[in-house]
Symmetry: C2
Subunit: 568 residues, 2 copies
């Protein structure tokens, strides 16, 4: 952008106060307003929101439905009065901004209570309109009892519906973050819940095998899952009852239906003003969160951001990045040279005692981005030292570049300590760290918190062993096609309880005596329960002139891959 443009949004001293209007008053918009006030007492700052509230905790909405957050007031982080009193920020709720006239720098605002329209001039405009739940145009989608979860009025309606109709059954359409949070909360209210998900897995951001633990966990808790089976239509079934019909024709009765299919960025206002919309459907901004119009910034769920792992543009409708973007827009508006570093898609969801978290790219995300120079390892360590009671497994997958070993992504599932490990790996990714860095990380250890070799260290060490050639990896994907010998080094009783088809059993405890029984001229793909004994066997056989490879994560990973239909 030219100097003239820059100056035009920073009027010289003595000129009339700069007028900054912000469209959308939740995470990104509210952060922008308050940060800008802390940097610039002189500017006039005004927030507009279509809804009745600003700065509410939208991530808390499912928990309000579930009565975990019983009091609606708790969701109101800051009232319009707080904005005025603390920050001298004007707030107009139930005020929809309908038109941006960029030439005259005027927006049209409609008061939704009266229908009256007015125009407001701006020097700087910040768009933080968010994203709206997708409501596919399917039969019955607008029936009473079908809800999305975006706003406080939404949760109020859902709560009223559950109470009025004494709802006992619910169908949640969509098995992603919001869908699973709704499952947790509806189960918490003792409803019988069915999840209908078009993809053949829950938690679409994860690789399919990493979603298996949550699939099994929900099934064990009585949640019915229809995976690989999209919503076809919804029918009235008498009284207030509904019937949900999936694409396969399966019918599910429901006292209410929650649509949690995903969100669509609210870009109409920007698009109608001629601002660029990117290939992923979001408003295009630069690293300072500014659109091509030097007077207009955009932040939050409606903008496209750069994924630092793949280098591609993406949509990431999460509160953390939205807050960060609002802050950065404010700093840039105030003339500070800040940049948004992009996103790495760190996310977590808790559902009925299980935690699923991820950071960076998934394997399918890497493939989608055309990246192939990577490897992956699986591990299933306890969340703390095994000798201390109560250790629970964390199922981890680590993706890293070859040959550099740069960390590309990690996914974890388990009941304890999952998000801690993902946060540590997220931090390493932020610094462009490698698996060697993970191996060397010096983390908190006492028996109830971790292990002398923390799961993060182990992930790094296993990846190091793969990278260095100490432990060549076999490709799980080739399991049905390989002519390698499949060797299971667990004890016979473990082997008998379940093993990879066509594997033979030679326990690690007998390997030093019996290894000459194995073929030297054929690859040997080794597995055990989780990978540790197979690693020992791999090292032993490699040093004795055999050709071993490791089936990373062992039989535990095999089971997940099998349940995800990724191996025969």
């Amino acid at each position: 952008m030219s100097d003239t443009h820059q100056q035009s949004s920073h009027p010289p001293q003595g000129s009339p106060r700069r007028r900054v209007l912000i469209v959308g008053g939740v995470a990104g918009g509210a952060s922008c307003a308050t940060r800008l006030r802390r940097l610039d007492e002189a500017a006039e700052i005004v927030l507009f929101d279509r809804g009745p509230y600003v700065s509410f905790a939208n991530c808390g909405l499912p928990y309000h439905v579930g009565n975990v957050i019983a009091d609606e007031e708790k969701l109101l982080v800051a009232s319009p009065e707080t904005f005025r009193q603390r920050f001298n920020v004007g707030v107009h709720t139930e005020s929809e901004v309908t038109v941006i006239d960029r030439a005259t720098r005027l927006i049209t605002v409609r008061d939704l209570r009266t229908g009256a329209e007015r125009q407001e001039p701006y020097d700087v405009l910040v768009l933080a309109p968010g994203a709206a739940p997708i409501r596919p145009p399917l039969p019955g989608i607008e029936l009473p009892g079908v809800f999305a979860v975006r706003s406080i009025p939404d949760t109020r309606r859902i709560r009223a519906w559950i109470e009025t109709h004494q709802a006992k059954t619910a169908v949640v359409v969509g098995g992603g973050f919001i869908g699973l949070e709704m499952v947790e909360n509806l189960v918490h209210r003792e409803l019988s819940v069915t999840v209908v998900e078009k993809l053949p897995q829950l938690m679409p951001p994860l690789d399919p095998e990493m979603a298996v633990p949550v699939t099994e966990h929900l099934q064990a808790r009585g949640v019915e899952l229809r995976l690989g089976d999209g919503l076809a239509r919804i029918e009235a079934a008498g009284g207030a009852r509904l019937r949900v019909i999936s694409e396969s024709g399966t019918q599910s009765p429901a006292d209410l239906v929650i649509l949690a299919i995903g969100v669509r960025p609210e870009t109409a206002l920007a698009q109608n003003a001629g601002l660029q919309i990117g290939a992923r459907g979001g408003i295009v901004v630069d690293e300072q969160m500014r659109t091509a119009d030097p007077h207009i910034w955009a932040v939050g769920d409606a903008v496209e951001v750069r994924d630092v792992l793949t280098g591609q543009e993406t949509m990431l409708p999460l509160a953390g990045p939205a807050n960060r973007q609002g802050r950065i827009a404010a700093e840039c508006i105030a003339g500070r040279p800040t940049r948004f570093r992009g996103v790495q898609a760190t996310a977590v969801v808790g559902v009925l005692g299980m935690t699923i978290a991820s950071t960076g790219a998934s394997e399918k995300g890497l493939r989608r981005a055309g990246m192939t120079a990577f490897q992956k390892v699986y591990l299933h360590p306890g969340h703390h030292a095994g000798y201390y009671p109560g250790a629970r497994p964390i199922h981890l997958k680590l993706l890293f570049s070859v040959p550099e070993g740069r960390i590309l992504g990690a996914q974890g599932a388990g009941t304890e300590g999952v998000e801690k490990r993902i946060d540590v790996i997220a931090t390493a990714i932020q610094f462009g760290g490698t698996v060697h860095d993970l191996a060397e990380a010096e983390l908190c250890y006492a028996p109830q918190f971790g292990a002398a070799k923390d799961p993060v260290n182990l992930a790094g060490m296993i990846a190091q062993n793969a990278l260095s050639g100490d432990m060549p990896l076999a490709e799980w994907e080739q399991l049905g096609r390989t002519d390698a010998l499949l060797l299971d080094v667990r004890e016979p009783d473990e082997f008998a309880a379940g093993h990879i088809p066509s594997a033979i059993n030679l326990p690690l405890s007998q390997l030093r005596q019996r290894y000459t029984e194995l073929p030297r001229q054929r690859e040997i793909w080794i597995s055990c329960g989780v990978g540790q004994r197979a690693y020992y066997a791999t090292r032993f056989l490699a040093q004795h002139g055999y050709q071993p490879r490791n089936l990373s994560g062992g039989y535990t990973t095999y089971r997940a891959l099998k349940l995800a239909d990724l191996v025969p």
Copy 2:
């Protein structure tokens, strides 16, 4: 070292198998043995340990005393049989290595069961002797009922003593990691516990004010604390009972006494062999964990390591670094060019529901190292979003260099989520990260796990504000000496419930109306409850031509500093 030296520990192919002897078979020694086997099937590897067990979980010993780990077997990570069978590593327990003859490369081993001595030749020797609990030569220190906690026989004796004498009261001498873990476990066994600590604070690695939450927590749980009062002597008090007399003359009855004063590296063997002992009392090694003798490595609690924050040598008797060192020694012995990156002193302890964790340097550690170009911020955020029920405060202190903002250390105390934040900051320190990096970290957020601005982000942002001059910090240490106006911007009811002496009250909610009441020519040191409102007030006043400074962490930090006697 010379090429000749390097070659001497890597005999050419065809020469007799290299003989690697390892003295000490717990964390560092056991890790070294098994890692070396995975890299070198040809070497002969033999472990010697003075005790009856190798590879036991010494970090679990306090919990075995407490019956939390009821079964002693759980502490045995790997038996001698496992070492033989899996790793072809010879193990000699109850075998003390008494002499190293470096010229002839022979060690003398005494069989502690028979008293017989023999000599064993080595090509490579690894010293992993650990550290022994300090037993100061005070009267009564050898009385029956006075115990240290280093080995499984120790815990067996303590458990037997508690049961035989139906112990009801205990004195723990030393309020550091092991001391507090023993407190937890003795309380768990329903003993009344008194802690005698010579320093005026618990948890000596922490700065005093950061130990206050655990002090208050223990007192609330009925633990008696004698701080700033060392052990003077122990007397027999009839039957099996003891009486502990502190330096102040205070007497505490005790059915048993636990010595947890600290540990002293076991360096006699190395020293007698003429190996260098450093200023901190540990065996001196290079980055490959090798002593000046090219045939001798040393790892674990007995060696001096470099503190990456201060650049100084230090002793850090923790299991994580010991394991890492054992692994690195093995790699170097196997001819791989690995280096130990030093330590950053990440540590955690849990005691009666409270977690205390730290990484990097403390403020007193920085001062001891002669470093002065740093600042510190305090914060007290909830461990997850405040709108979700059950948020508990984490008390955090972040130290960073000025003007670069490089993270130097962090300390945290609270009941939930403490070690997660310290692990994230530890990871940032590993990469030489700055407070700006913490502000930008993209961490897991869902209401029950964190916040859109995670405590780690907040710590970074607050430090950024201090560094940038947006929020100049007042020095707590100057509180009694400053002529600044002390301004408390909380609401009147909060102010009335307790405030910094001589502070005046002008609530943030009235500041925009009443700020002209404040003096322009005098510094104004602003505080609130935890720092947020004071920050808003600071920004407002700074932009209106006042001279505000922020008392970081507000009244919550003031209370801790006051209880630690650091402010008037």
